[in-house]
């Protein structure tokens, strides 16, 4: 039991933040999503979402790509392999600790 609790100390703090956890969880469930979709789904403000996306990109958990769909500019975000790995690990640690 104590070993499981101690594992919590090693938890990834970048992902553990609630807003970033929402973003990463959402991106894990889809192939890719744009800024507007993430803003609607998470309910975060534009500035807040922008900051969290930058933080996740810096950590290498998500990839951000600017593109167009017709005349509409899109900021497309997708989870990287590293992001998938970190989320899986996070899920395991939290599950074990809460059991």
């Amino acid at each position: 039991m104590s070993a499981k609790i101690q594992q919590l100390a090693e938890i990834d703090r970048v992902i553990h933040e609630p807003a970033r956890l929402m973003i990463v969880a959402l991106l894990a469930a889809v192939v890719e999503a744009d800024f507007q979709y993430l803003r609607n789904a998470t309910g975060l403000t534009q500035g807040n979402l922008s900051t969290h996306l930058s933080r996740l990109e810096e950590a290498g958990y998500i990839a951000i790509e600017k593109s167009f769909r017709g005349k509409y500019p899109l900021t497309i975000c997708r989870l990287t392999e590293r992001g998938i790995e970190v989320l899986d690990n996070y899920r395991k640690v939290i599950k074990a600790a809460l059991r």
Binding site: P18, L21, L26, A28, F35
Partner: protein
């Protein structure tokens, strides 16, 4: 943001994603409009079965329409919703590319569809048997009430939004009322599906209209 961080951390990331995607999916009212159109078409076909006598061409055409309606609409409405969102609502609802459905999910959908088909077959068998005895009224009643209650509970459980819960309660109450009203099976289904279709269509149109009239948000 309405989430408490402590609660969020107790939830599996998959559950968080499902909840957030559900919220985003119902934001524009398009799924309700699609459900409304499906139910109204179904109500129309039930009404045709009520008008035409059993064994006539009209009755058979309506029956065939019912058999073809669900697979066509199940795939067709999903495609149409995706197309409308990307063509007309991308600025409001954003862009998302869903993951392709995997074999396990397909299997689950197939098992559910098979279970529903089996339940409908059994219910129809009970109804046909009942129609030859003095319990015909109760068999029709059971089917109408059962459809209303199961459909209503499904709408409330899957939708998880107040308007879906209200719709579910109305569907269940209508099913129960029709069960006691002595109406024929096809007329009962036509009324039940018609009412739910109309409510769903109106609710979806209102949600879509409110979204379209919202001022555009600034870009990132």
């Amino acid at each position: 943001m309405t989430h408490s961080s402590s609660l969020l951390h107790q939830e599996d990331p998959n559950a968080i994603a499902k909840r957030l995607m559900q919220k985003a999916h119902t934001r524009d009212g398009l799924p309700e409009i699609a459900v409304g159109i499906t139910f109204l078409v179904l109500a129309g076909l039930c009404w045709l079965q009520e008008i035409f006598k059993h064994g006539t061409n009209g009755y058979q055409a309506a029956s065939l329409g019912m058999v073809l309606l669900f697979p066509a609409l199940a795939f067709g409405t999903q495609w149409a919703i995706k197309h409308v969102r990307r063509r007309f609502l991308i600025k409001k609802v954003g862009y998302v590319e869903a993951k392709p459905v995997n074999r396990k999910q397909r299997g689950i959908v197939f098992v559910i569809a098979a279970a529903v088909a089996a339940a409908v077959t059994i219910a129809t068998y009970i109804f046909i048997r009942g129609s030859h005895s003095s319990t015909a009224f109760s068999a029709t009643g059971w089917l109408l009430a059962g459809t209303g209650i199961i459909g209503g509970a499904g709408a409330a459980f899957l939708g998880r939004l107040p308007r879906y819960v209200v719709g579910g309660v109305i569907m269940a109450a209508t099913g129960i009322y029709l069960a006691f009203s002595g109406v024929s099976l096809n007329a009962g289904f036509a009324i039940l599906y018609g009412l739910i279709g109309l409510l769903s269509l109106i609710s979806g149109c209102v949600v879509l209209l409110l979204l379209v009239r919202q001022p555009a948000q600034e870009g990132e």
